[in-house]
């Protein structure tokens, strides 16, 4: 970089940074839009209502169907209850979601982005509010470019107020997934909630407001990693939003006999929430929301032309139609020819088999793990300082900490038996004894109890080095319900 070369005078200086171009998406009606409304109502409904669902969990656990209980380190999901050491189930669910997302994307393109992604859903809702208050595309452009008069202030204050209200409802609902909903809602309303609660409430309100109100399509384009690598899931058999250029080109007036079907009305561009032109082909910015499909179909219907100039289409079919109509003049013959070579989407392909296979294996694995999940576990920790204790009469004693985790409702009284060399004496501090003189460990309901056990090898037993022993818990019927092996240590010589 020693010499700065002269630049061509006709080329303007290119900046590495561009100022943000505001997008003014227009309202649109149609099939896709109706599906999107339905998805929006369903998803937001679930989001806001689920924390209110009650679930009877007994006296010592919160009666909420879905709850991440940080304080007690529990995750409740309807009939599932996860303890911290089982958090891998959550990892498993996330893995399932990821593979499911891969499979769906490879079949139907970016349906996640376009229809269900929270960023899309809330942005959609915010845009709807914006439209109700400031009017549709043209009205909004006019408002923003017009004077800062009363009408402008009125519209902006109402809009931002409404946005803030939605953002607060969103932030508030998020808190309820981590706290008991009725009591926490009340506490928040009456100013009694903790600073942490208000802090997170403010945080999630702010992020909703900024992301759905201001950042919008920029989140998808610049922040979200998914668009960057979802291309790896797509192939020529995936359904993606495409412009059938073989049919639309060359663009021209509706009256022009030499023009294709695209009348260059830019309806598809104006409705696009990311502000792109789908006629330029596949683009990173396109979230696959399909609103341009609705917009163009509307135009085509009004022109009495077949719909589907912009459509959900596989790239394979697009290429096939393109090849079949090469060199043909615009008109009904070209259209018919192009559509006739299309084939049904190929669903079963190696990639899908791999996804479905992995998905199935993961589901089986998770189900197996869940079925084998222990609801009662005994953990034995050997005292290590000292490894063993020399007793006055020549015996040797080891100490153990027993942890008994009961993941179910109800308390249990279990007898502890020791399996190992005959003659070992077992004492559990603070434990009662059953009829046979065995220590009885009582469990708390849905909790952990801890006991200290002392095992003594009397002088005559002379256990040297390490000896395997096993703790076993028996229920009232004498059935073994939990076991844990450990060792008994004595002097080496």
């Amino acid at each position: 970089m020693s010499v700065i070369p002269p630049r061509a005078p006709d080329v303007e200086e290119a900046s590495l940074y561009a100022s943000h171009q505001k997008v003014y998406p227009r309202a649109v009606q149609g099939v896709v839009r109706r599906v999107k409304w339905a998805a929006l109502i369903l998803l937001l409904g679930l989001y806001y209502l689920v924390p209110w669902l009650r679930w009877d969990r007994g006296p010592n656990a919160p009666d909420q169907a879905v709850l991440v209980d940080m304080g007690h380190a529990r995750l409740f999901f309807f009939w599932f209850e996860l303890w911290p050491q089982e958090i891998y189930f959550l990892t498993g669910v996330l893995v399932l979601c990821a593979i499911g997302l891969f499979a769906v994307t490879s079949l139907f393109g970016r349906v996640w982005c376009g229809f269900t992604c929270p960023q899309t859903v809330w942005t959609d809702l915010f845009m709807w509010v914006e439209r109700r208050i400031e009017g549709d595309r043209n009205a909004r452009i006019k408002l923003d470019h017009g004077p800062r008069d009363r009408a402008w202030w009125r519209a902006k204050v109402i809009k931002h107020g409404a946005w803030l209200a939605i953002a607060m409802a969103t932030g508030g609902a998020w808190i309820m997934y981590f706290n008991d909903t009725p009591s926490t809602s009340w506490a928040m309303l009456t100013g009694q909630a903790s600073l942490t609660v208000y802090g997170f409430f403010a945080l999630f309100t702010a992020t909703t407001y900024v992301l759905a109100g201001a950042a919008r399509e920029q989140v998808c384009t610049y922040m979200c990693p998914w668009p960057r690598f979802q291309g790896a899931m797509l192939d020529e058999n995936s359904l993606v939003v495409t412009y059938r250029d073989w049919r639309g080109e060359p663009r021209g007036k509706p009256t022009d006999p030499d023009a294709g079907d695209c009348v260059d009305c830019k309806a598809c561009v104006h409705v696009c929430p990311t502000g792109i032109d789908i006629r330029d082909g596949q683009q990173l910015e396109c979230i696959g929301c399909g609103l341009c499909v609705d917009a163009c179909d509307d135009v085509m219907k009004r022109l009495n032309r077949p719909t589907g100039l912009v459509a959900f289409e596989t790239l394979k079919n697009l290429a096939a139609s393109e090849a079949a109509t090469k060199g043909m003049a615009p008109g009904p013959a070209r259209l018919e020819r192009g559509m006739s070579v299309r084939v049904a989407q190929k669903i079963i392909r190696p990639r899908m088999l791999v996804y479905v296979g992995v998905l199935g294996a993961a589901i089986l694995l998770m189900m197996g793990a869940w079925l084998m999940r222990q609801t009662l576990t005994l953990t034995v920790l050997r005292d290590r300082a000292p490894l063993y204790v020399q007793l006055a009469d020549g015996g040797v004693r080891n100490a153990y900490t027993l942890k008994l985790a009961n993941k179910l409702r109800g308390e249990l009284a279990l007898s502890l038996v020791l399996e190992g060399p005959q003659g070992l004496r077992l004492l559990v501090q603070d434990a009662g004894l059953d009829a046979q003189g065995r220590p009885v460990l009582t469990t708390r309901e849905d909790g952990i109890t801890q006991w200290r056990a002392l095992i003594t090898a009397p002088e005559g037993l002379r256990l040297r080095g390490s000896t395997a022993i096993t703790f076993r818990l028996l229920d009232a019927q004498g059935t073994s319900v939990a076991r844990q092996s450990s060792v008994f240590l004595g002097p080496e010589r």
Binding site: Y222, P386, V389
Partner: protein, 289 residues
């Protein structure tokens, strides 16, 4: 090599003017707010460095004067206030009452573990295992001054030969050879007898000779058959636990030059609640008496 900025004919986009091996880079501009976010982060970092201790220089505290260490006393005070009601209950209760109340007992065990690690583990070991050479194990079933709650608490409160409390434990054992009370052969014979008390003597004749010497010099404290005496803190000699080592050389050394362990008195140093917690913890360690 920089080349000229030009329009790329295929994409219609401008290039950055960078070229590597014939490959030119397209200029795909970042949004400007992204740049501003970056600047804001730099600004934030600068403010942080000025206000908080961010520089790796000793004594550089930042304009606010805040340090993690400086904030510690307030956090400790808050934590203390949080557990104070529990400590008050522990202070008011006797060890027996604490042991009978599962909630208090659990708290005492947890607190006692920490107090033990902070104050006692230096001599008695992390798990109370002690060490040969005068640091008694607290995890065994041999209690020199008794293993009841009361006895343990008394030892903790008043210490052993620390000359800090009138009620301290322990009296001194004479140094029999150093003071000329016994000669070397007599010390050896006495040691043989002491070993015979736990069945480990290898020289019956010497042990027999030592028996009379023991009765005359040692039995007043360690009792006739080496049962020891808790009042005086004279350890049992007829068991398998040897505070200063149980081989003949160690026993001879004990007789010839005497032994005397020292433990500070913790009364006045530790909160009564903490002494109660330690009592419960130490009692549980060795199973108590």
């Amino acid at each position: 090599m920089p080349t000229k900025i030009e329009k790329d004919s295929i994409t219609g986009q401008m290039t950055t003017g960078h070229e590597w091996d014939g490959i030119k880079e397209l200029n795909t501009p970042m949004p400007r707010w992204w740049l501003y976010t970056f600047y804001a982060c730099i600004g934030f970092a600068l403010v942080w460095v000025v206000l908080y201790p961010a520089l790796p220089i000793t004594g550089a505290t930042g304009l606010l004067g805040w340090t993690a260490r400086g904030a510690l006393p307030a956090q400790q005070a808050a934590e203390r206030a949080r557990i104070e009601p529990m400590l008050a209950r522990l202070r008011a209760a006797t060890p027996e009452q604490i042991a009978a109340d599962p909630e208090l007992r659990g708290f005492a065990l947890a607190g006692g573990r920490v107090a033990f690690a902070n104050n006692c583990a230096g001599c008695h070991g992390a798990g109370g295992q002690g060490a040969v050479g005068g640091f008694p194990s607290l995890a065994d079933d041999d209690w020199i001054y008794g293993g009841s709650f009361e006895a343990i608490q008394h030892t903790i409160r008043h210490g052993v030969r620390a000359n800090e409390s009138d009620e301290q434990r322990g009296i001194a054992m004479p140094a029999f050879q150093a003071t000329g009370m016994l000669n070397a052969t007599q010390v050896s014979d006495t040691a043989e007898f002491v070993l015979s008390l736990s069945g480990r003597s290898t020289d019956a004749a010497a042990a027999t000779r030592g028996e009379a010497l023991y009765a005359e010099n040692c039995a007043s404290c360690h009792a006739e058959r080496g049962e020891g005496n808790r009042e005086l803190g004279a350890p049992r000699l007829n068991d398998r636990i040897w505070l200063y080592g149980g081989d003949k050389a160690a026993v001879m050394r004990s007789i010839a030059y005497s032994r005397a362990g020292v433990m500070p008195s913790w009364q006045g140093r530790l909160d009564p609640a903490m002494i109660n917690m330690l009592t419960i913890y130490v009692h549980a360690l060795g199973g108590g008496e």
